[in-house]
Symmetry: D2
Amino acid sequence: MAHYGFLGLGIMGRAMAANLLKAGHKVTVWNRSVDKCAPLVELGATVGDTPRQITAECEITFAMLADPDAARAVCSGADGVAAGIGGGRGYVDMSTVDDLTAQEIAAAVTAAGGRFLEAPVSGTKKPAEDGTLIILAAGDESLYRDALPAFEIMGKMSPFLGAVGQGARMKLVVNMIMGGMLTAFGEGVALALESGLDGEKLLEVLANGALGNPMFASKGALLLKENYPTSFPLKHMQKDLRLALQLGDRLGQPLVTAATANEIFKRARAAGHADDDIAAVYTAIHEKKCK
Amino acid sequence: MAHYGFLGLGIMGRAMAANLLKAGHKVTVWNRSVDKCAPLVELGATVGDTPRQITAECEITFAMLADPDAARAVCSGADGVAAGIGGGRGYVDMSTVDDLTAQEIAAAVTAAGGRFLEAPVSGTKKPAEDGTLIILAAGDESLYRDALPAFEIMGKMSPFLGAVGQGARMKLVVNMIMGGMLTAFGEGVALALESGLDGEKLLEVLANGALGNPMFASKGALLLKENYPTSFPLKHMQKDLRLALQLGDRLGQPLVTAATANEIFKRARAAGHADDDIAAVYTAIHEKKCK
Amino acid sequence: MAHYGFLGLGIMGRAMAANLLKAGHKVTVWNRSVDKCAPLVELGATVGDTPRQITAECEITFAMLADPDAARAVCSGADGVAAGIGGGRGYVDMSTVDDLTAQEIAAAVTAAGGRFLEAPVSGTKKPAEDGTLIILAAGDESLYRDALPAFEIMGKMSPFLGAVGQGARMKLVVNMIMGGMLTAFGEGVALALESGLDGEKLLEVLANGALGNPMFASKGALLLKENYPTSFPLKHMQKDLRLALQLGDRLGQPLVTAATANEIFKRARAAGHADDDIAAVYTAIHEKKCK
Amino acid sequence: MAHYGFLGLGIMGRAMAANLLKAGHKVTVWNRSVDKCAPLVELGATVGDTPRQITAECEITFAMLADPDAARAVCSGADGVAAGIGGGRGYVDMSTVDDLTAQEIAAAVTAAGGRFLEAPVSGTKKPAEDGTLIILAAGDESLYRDALPAFEIMGKMSPFLGAVGQGARMKLVVNMIMGGMLTAFGEGVALALESGLDGEKLLEVLANGALGNPMFASKGALLLKENYPTSFPLKHMQKDLRLALQLGDRLGQPLVTAATANEIFKRARAAGHADDDIAAVYTAIHEKKCK
């Protein structure tokens, strides 16, 4: 059994670290507010004092932090990740951060003699708990091989995608496809309802055909109820569309469907749905009509 | 066991009629060129002389014809469907036709004392053979109930959708969503490849996540090979997008994603891919770059 | 001086016929409701009993009718245009009609031994009064040459565009450009105002630069007041965008800007602005924001 | 007569400084490569040693530099603009720079006791020579008033637009409208030619109607010849579209026409037309067709 470090015990991190513990590994955890560590201690975790201490001690330390600022903060400083790492020990940042942040952290870790892997995940709370995340790993390939047993506990697939940045890019590509699928789907639902077709029957027909997918099933139910409890906030999807378009611009790849979807998401955001679920893009598609 | 008529023995019709026979039903078949009847006779079918004779004899006659012109031709004339029908017997047209044609045929059948159902299908050769078509039925609801045992043999689901025309509309909605999904997907594949990501890994990540669907799997393989053997001709998809947009125009439903997808399909069509598979829309998305 | 016939004395026709009279020509007029003839009689016009009588008498008869139905009605029947024409006399239909209607009328006139020209105009009431219309002529070129002196009175330019149908097509092209310019302009005004720039100053900057055009000046004032008294009804522009897109579809010409503009006009139409001026497309661009 | 400084004697700057001299003002000029000063010395200019010396001496110094990097370089350093300015003397940067650069330079000048105005221009070589530029001024309003006599020599209009950054924003808005107009126009030309209409006649009809504008006239001629000598490089227009879209994203203003136009410009850029004139966007609209 390995000894892993785990930094960041929010909704996602807590579930992921718990799965490592349940699989029998030794895990030392850390969180900015220490009270979040308690449930993991119950499962057998040790609590570390600082990120520095943990990366100094553990062969591989995983992190699941809230955003790029948190990821950068935890890495730097006297008590940070980079201060403790060295000797070829590994740091695997599973937070969702942009290219630049990932590259900055990679540079700091490498300069300190550590190995680095970015590994953003696709999937939310439920897959984190079930150990069925999709882990998009990129960076040091030897660390990837060393981390694979842990990835196999936390996720159902964890392809290695190349240099640091490729994990973030794969995630952008997937979310860009999701955004375009969702506006195409929303337009289909709107056209069906305006045609006098039954929404439930449309969902059933879709579910049974070549287009059937879990997202249409889960979001379709929300569209028909026009009720959008947040699982993936609309403003984050719109940000990903913007970043994907910027990537396409840099690479000279035109993306007219994505650009159109982005504008529809922008309308939904501007109309007050920034913090609702991505399904709320439907409000910008199926609007009230006048006679 | 029932006695069914079946008109039209192309790739689809032949497989559907064969399934009725295999289920133990008596089936009288007809096809414009009579040689297509032979394989079904081997399975136990009787050959009818004319559509008229079959609709005069059978409680329910199914038809699977090439296009609106064929559907209209088979219905009218001295030897046509309408000349034989009456006494509340049923005619179920499973061909893909537009609203107007369906309504014309419905009127002729009803005027002759028959009952009518339009029932276009979603699915191609393989689902026809496997009896897993999706059958979109609309028209006379009592006939729907009577035809249901046959639908259950030919398809895996067959919702009743309302008045004649609603079956065709449901099919347009589904194909419109398909068109938008396909351009969103194509852009994702293009962006991934331009980013240096591995196409196979993208397909694998998609297949394992909330967006996974059979179409991405089957068309994705074609995109990566840039090879588009025709299963659903691109020009037919573009026609359905056009018709869906016209329907939206009539109903006052804006459809900006579909309008954008339509223009991309038009570009692929204009560039010589009209008769290739719908997957060839990718040629209009991922174009050769200059430095 | 020539002897012209003139059928249809609405806002446009009255002004055009008046200009022919003021230039010293003899004009015989006709209108479905005869009271509209009075102001022209004051200017020296004779009143004809029927379209038939006028086309039998006059070397060239002009028509300016409300719509395709009116254009067809005036041409056909015992008292219609076609019943009187012959001997190579000319009929110039300046109404805005579709290809098909123009071709039908052309066929009827030609079959009766007359010559035909379609000549839809660009420009509204004011240019009609000022004799500064743009006349888009197509059809019989010898008739074009014969009608030119009259065109030069009614318009400021009157190019000959080819076979019947080309006049209507030129008008569609111009209106399609207008639709796209208007949504681009509306987005610019919205972005300027959201940026805290002064709308009047934007209009002034535009007017003085390479983009300056009469439409931005006249519609810009309406946008800033958010007040849209109808000069060109929005629903007619949206219809022209739809027809232009259908033409492009037939010809294999992708038109993604126009398709996008069309969807924005559709949103404005669906939101209750069908009968407002085309400038009301701005309501679908610059929407109220939430925090 | 005033004593002005002028920094940057490229194509634009040289013409602008010459106009100040011809109007009778005293002008001290500076250019990174001193040989560019000669033609202005012939017109009566004095040559300054450094930006510092000039801003120390002149009541108002104008600058017209190549890009943000040059603008920043000339402002900073021991011999830079900020080192010489003070005592409320004015610095008017007429270069095209982004918000951030303008604000940096503004801060440096203000901190040194000077007054600052950004004043990007709309118009190229010819208007610079003719003194008919459009000058988009923003920043210190008292400096605006003091600079107005010079603006009136160099331009035909020079509105004051508010705080530093508003000049740059006005320019983005204008260029965004230009981009959308150009794709709408290109689609119209393509549809006309595909319809068999004469391109020259379309240009003539447009020029005489409500849409007529200098850009359609000058770019239209290029489109018909499919020849794109660079006056405004396509890649710069695409950059401005990108920046305008980012501004709209920040402000919550959807811009779907501009987003679509941007993708068309991106296609033209990716196809090798980055350095051609903006008119080359037509190559991405009117593509070669197959049968």
